[in-house]
């Protein structure tokens, strides 16, 4: 079964607005990663946050991790039409030798 569950499943916003996506997982992790997938393309890595970190930034992206709640959020600030894509969280676990378990994804639509 999927380890991560993203919420919401779909999100539609206007350009310039912020987009927030959430990910919940079930078992302990040693890192959590966010990926983007454009239509018809492969997944592209966005950001990795380790279990001992609480927040990370990369450009317009901000990721938070709350291990006590087993949840993470991805915030995209000042969204652009080019941010339209599906976003997935993926969890890595100690002892699984780099294996990731992907969530169900959030489809983000950014309109002009």
């Amino acid at each position: 079964s999927q380890q991560g569950e993203e919420d919401p499943q779909a999100l539609s916003i206007q350009e310039g607005e912020n987009a927030t996506m959430n990910c919940s997982y079930k078992t302990s992790i040693n890192n959590l990663q966010w990926y983007r997938q454009n239509s018809g393309r492969g997944l592209v890595h966005l950001i990795l946050i380790r279990s001992n970190e609480r927040e990370k930034h990369s450009g317009r992206l901000r990721v938070t991790l709350d291990t006590s709640k087993k949840s993470s959020s991805l915030l995209i600030t000042a969204s652009r039409a080019a941010d339209t894509a599906s976003y997935f969280c993926a969890t890595g676990h100690t002892g699984t030798a780099s294996k990731l378990t992907f969530g169900t994804g959030t489809r983000l639509q950014v309109t002009l």
């Binding site: 492969g42 380790r50 997935f88 780099s98 294996k99 992907f102």
Partner: protein, 116 residues
């Protein structure tokens, strides 16, 4: 930028035929993953290799699927015989992994497989 290359990008074939999908991982990466993506099941890990040795293929139907790495520049995923339920997008990803921490995976653009 270095990329993972998958061939073919699209494949349409009839039920019962053998299908071979190929992947060229990024040079220097030591781990290769095969995933299958469908609307119903999402992204599922089928198998993965470290330094060309299979580490885990528990996600793969053993009776009809096989995955190999003949050399460091080529990974293959075969389905024989193929069935309509195998229709999906198959992704290959590679990464440079050490024993301490997870690292990002780099994905190819997938093979879109349709079994009639």
């Amino acid at each position: 930028d270095a990329r993972v290359t998958q061939t073919p990008r699209h494949k349409v074939t009839e039920m019962g035929q053998e299908v071979t999908m190929r992947c060229q991982p990024i040079l220097g990466h030591n781990t290769v993953f095969w995933y299958r993506q469908t609307m119903m099941q999402g992204l599922e890990l089928l198998a993965y290799f470290r330094n060309r040795a299979p580490l885990d293929d528990s996600g793969m139907p053993k009776d009809r699927f096989s995955a190999e790495m003949p050399d460091a520049t080529l990974a293959t995923l075969k389905i024989q015989p193929s069935e309509p339920r195998d229709s999906a997008v198959y992704f290959c990803a590679s990464g440079l992994v050490d024993l301490i921490s997870n690292q990002p995976q780099h994905f190819g653009d997938g093979t879109r497989l349709s079994i009639l």
